[in-house]
Amino acid sequence: NEDVVVQNEFLSLAFDQATGALKSLTNLESKDSIAISQSFGYYIGSVGDNSKEELRAAGAYISRPNCSDGCWKELKSNGSYEVVKGALGQEVRQYINPWISQVIRLHTTSKHVNFEWQVGPIPIGDDVGKEIISRFSTSMKTGEEFWTDSNGRQNIRRVRNFRSTFKINITEPVASNYYPVVDRLFVRDNGQKTQLTILTDRAQGGASLNEGQVELMVHRRLLVDDWLGVSEPLNEVGLGQGLVIRGTHRLILAKIDKSAARYRALSQASYWHPTILFTAVTTQESRLE
């Protein structure tokens, strides 16, 4: 009945043994520990009727979750999981549903955690377009603010339901708080002086819609054209099957003053990962040398 623990000399993660869900993340160097859960959910893409600006449909150009009965739709996990432990790494493999699975991996010498997700094809049998989100909810006191990067260079401070250059009237509670994330987004707990940074492996949209939370949009499948130029819905017209996408979010929990050095190095190592070449070995070892 104990929690499942995945650990190396730098980080420790605990998972609920009944469901395989993530429960806590601890930085063993700084002794900082946060309660954290990660879940998948989706927003329903607005259909609208494109007769007026306010009734534009969600599509290739527009993300406009339909929040008429609550925005966030949780995708409950099936509760099946596997734990793999070996000399070079430990991982928990979560089976969320027939079209979402995830591997949370910690290599022996890593100071970050990999969340490797596989999503799709997104089912549309219910005729509902969906935008799939990976959301991290933590015990961190992050207030109203979070940060996203600008093309991987400097960080831009974001404040929920706020614009620094004009008084915003919020009509889209989710879309108004989504920003481009090309490399990273992070939240800070100034009391604990800790920072949770998530590195993406591609450009995505992200937000922090509640205290202690960060989320990233990992996949979309929308059934209506948004009449802004593509003239087709974001639904792989012609392939008819929907896409399976795979990707990785890399999480770093560290002190605020240590975070930048760590995520910059990791971002470069991820973006400029080694190029792998193979060649048949047909002669003796000396040729290998």
Binding site: Q17, A18, T19, G20, A60, Y61, N78, G79, S80, Y81, E82, V83, V84, K85, G86, A87, L88, G89, R93, Y95, S101, V103, H107, T108, T109, S110, Q118, P121, A203, L228, G229, V230, S231, E232, L234, E236, V237, G238, L239, Q241, V244, R246, Q268, A269, W272, H273, P274, T275, I276, L277, F278, T279, A280, V281, E285, L288
Partner: protein
Amino acid sequence: QHEVAQLREAVGVAQHHDAITGTERQHVADDYARQLAEGIGECQDVVADGINKLSKVSSPIQYQFCDLLNISQCHVTENLGQTTIVLWNSLSRTVNHYVRLPVKDGDYSVTGAGNSDVPVQITPLPKELLTIPGRISAATHELTFRAKLPPVGFATYLIKKVSKSRPKKYNRGRVLQRTARSDYLQ
């Protein structure tokens, strides 16, 4: 220069905001992917030439690449007898990188420079990965080892499939499984 030009032009074309944001029609998206893939293929020849130059071999070695490692598909490693793998590090600092290669089930050895024995972990691939539409691969496991790469340099490793009769010093990831409670499924 002409080999690099193809990718350079493909990236040039992909500066269009449609390519960056995905606001193009599906067939256009497919064409962007086609151009980039062909450009990458041309550049891989340049990388191979570079490694041949750096390694000062008397006659150029033919190298192969696997572009679908993201879905654990690689025609070289999944039909492995033995192969040499070269890892090129373009960062100007030493990098420790966990190399993950799709293989069939079995035991493997990895030998580094100076015939050093490198620890290996063999792990079954997640079931969901095996069923991805379009994945054509016999690999059911993943071979992981940690490579240490010099700044702006490369390292070479020899990977060999070894017979099971050898002593069990090649590490296997232990899979502990928990399945959903039936009521939960309901």
